[in-house]
Subunit: 407 residues, 2 copies
């Protein structure tokens, strides 16, 4: 997994490339009280291969249940997404609202409602105003165009500061295929912080089974190392649609590997953009844990460190407070001997054999921590296990945004 | 477990009662750079029964190792506590500093160093300045007096806003015995937030084995439902010393039950004072989870809810954001069906059968949430399991204190 700056495609400055077989729309339907865009549509020219990954939370929003059931068949025609309302904890009325909304899309485009997947994000526990979505349906379908992925990206934002789009190309034989991903984050990207939605379309083609496999692998390597994971919101959803207009990829082939890498790059870039957009975040920090007894142990340690409020506030304070890092690892459940642990920030070693190297090293580390983007490596000295976790610092504006989110 | 306001004994307003067989001191030894008290001593008139509970973190400070080893024998004569330096992650030099400090106490009072338990709290990874403690030893022992528990309480503070003392009396036959507890919190009382130290003395007497049993039971019912738990700092320690001057308590007796209840009241009051002192905390909130499949499941849910930054910021914002509470329960690992879950704040029901009752209920709940102290009940509708967890809201000053703690 590599995150490079050029993986971000700032759609305020440039337009995302078209992807053959897909059109997009994003409009304001009045779901958000502030009049901002809140309804988006991805429309495929014909039925396409589809795969999804979903929240593991026991509390699942109505659209998640419906999207998962419909995508299980491996084919979709459209994805209808609203922001401003999560349609979660809304019971049978919520389920009916999601069904009515997707049925309206299906009717307009002349397909079975089973081919339209819903997704929602926003406030929990308020009934989705389906009538507003039905009223907006003619405008939504009028707006659909192959060049409007940017509109779609804006329509799915909640407290995001910027829309999140990333693309990659790959070769399938002589054809150039494109992978285009759109995501929304919002809130801190703590595990329990906010809904993550991501939608990826490609004109590469493959079987639904292979698509599901590639999506799962790419998600585990990217989004599951920042946020979605076992700890999830009620609405987290990633959907992948493949039109096949640029050729077909077979399982086990070089092309399949290229598609997986492109997916991983796109999801990695989206994940990084989400982290960078953490409320009040000034630093994107990658924790790399090595030397654990197992990858699972390394993951426990990396996740506990990266989600510790004490560690995250120290990152905000540009304080090389390695004691908090070591203490977080110590309570993570990972088995290790603190007396052989080592920590470095960027290329500056600050802890060796469980003890501080000194004030000079910590001052040098603090200079690195003043930057927007750096890596902290924690070596447990116990075995071959390793893991990576991306996080951001926790600043005062995080409190402000989250204390007043519903106000 | 009951927490009543009168369990707080504000030592700025009144003096804690004497406990026969114990003397205390608290002085400034120069460990803290700001000149505040930082060295405390509890001195028993003779060897007394002792028991302890300690951090479960893999990273354990030198004084924790030494205190646990020495207390295992069931007898202590003195406890030496410093603030301003945790003596954690300091390796062999740290161990030597703790041994030298306790040896100096032992020499002065003419006992074996094995009878002196150390405890430390403060910055991790800086070597304990043993020479400052040795220099201060004559002053510390000169200051020792049965009326100076308040000085001791001040000397163990770190970022605490107030010293924490609580007392209870009980009858042993015709004698009145006293249980006096002193604690320090600091930081949020999130599990991973800061060191908790507590020291309890009583003139009741009992065997070390019974003392250890009573302490463990009382801790499980109190401190382990706020903070110490499986998630602990490098230094967490609770020590209990019993002089027996007010009579002896036998296992299984009514007196043993009374002593356990007194211990639980004292530790409960100290725990509540620690929570109320959470940085930036304006509300002390008790989460009561019922209807879980088991007590263990209830505890998972209660702990995940009570430690969720999203929930804690909503408490700060006086926002009856039950969606965050339900979502936290949903990712806790507790097994339940969200469609039968119920939530009430104080005596106001806001969620029934997994759905909101309405805006009027939420407005009524918000009025309760404006208060300093209230209870949120979450019913999972699945079985007899129940658990309680105490927490506070997360405010902006939490960030300020923790981002700049070492500066």
């Amino acid at each position: 997994m590599t995150f490079s700056a050029d993986a971000f495609l700032d759609i305020d400055k440039t337009s995302p490339p078209k992807v053959r077989g897909f059109r997009f729309a994003g409009i304001a339907a009045g779901i958000k009280s502030n009049g901002k865009p809140d309804l988006g549509l991805i429309l495929a020219d014909e039925d396409v291969a589809a795969a999804g990954v979903y929240t593991k939370n026991r509390v699942r929003a109505a659209p998640v249940e419906i999207a998962q059931k419909r995508t299980r068949k491996g084919r979709l025609r459209a994805v209808l997404v609203n922001s401003g309302n999560a349609n979660a904890c809304t019971g049978e009325p919520g389920r009916k609202a999601a069904l009515a909304s997707t049925a309206a899309v299906a009717k307009r485009i002349g397909v079975s409602a089973e081919l339209v997947a819903p997704a929602s994000t926003g406030v929990i526990g308020a009934l989705l105003p389906a009538e507003k979505i039905l009223d907006a349906m003619p405008r939504l379908l009028d707006a659909v165009d192959s060049s409007r992925a940017a509109d779609f990206a804006r329509a799915i934002m909640t407290t995001d500061q910027w829309p999140k789009v990333a693309t990659r190309t790959l070769k399938i034989g002589k054809e150039t295929a494109t992978v285009l991903g759109v995501a929304k984050g919002a809130g801190m990207i703590h595990p329990d912080m906010a809904t993550t939605l991501a939608f990826v379309v490609t004109d590469a083609g493959c079987s639904p089974a292979l698509l599901a496999k590639l999506l799962k692998e790419a998600t585990d390597a990217t989004f599951n190392a920042i946020s979605v994971d076992g700890d999830t919101s009620t609405n987290d959803t990633i959907l992948l649609l493949a039109s096949g207009k640029a050729g077909t990829v077979k399982a086990g082939s070089k092309d399949a590997k290229a598609l997986r890498e492109a997916l991983e790059d796109v999801l990695g870039a989206l994940g990084r953009s989400i982290i960078a957009d953490g409320e009040g975040a000034e630093h994107v920090v990658t924790f790399e844990v090595s030397g654990a007894r197992s990858d699972a142990d390394a993951r426990k340690a990396a996740k506990t460190i990266a989600t510790s409020p004490l560690v995250k506030t120290a990152l905000h304070g540009v304080d090389a407070n390695w004691g908090r890092i070591l203490a977080a690892a110590g309570r993570s459940g990972a088995v290790f001997d603190p007396d052989v642990a080592a920590i470095s920030i960027g290329d500056v070693a600050i802890v060796t054999k469980g003890m501080p190297i000194g004030k000079t090293a910590e001052a040098a580390a603090a200079k690195i921590m003043a930057g927007p983007d750096y890596t902290i490596r924690v070596s447990l000295g116990r075995g071959p296990g390793k893991a990576r976790y991306l996080t951001c610092d926790m600043g005062k504006s995080y409190i402000a945004v989250n204390a007043n989110y519903r106000s």
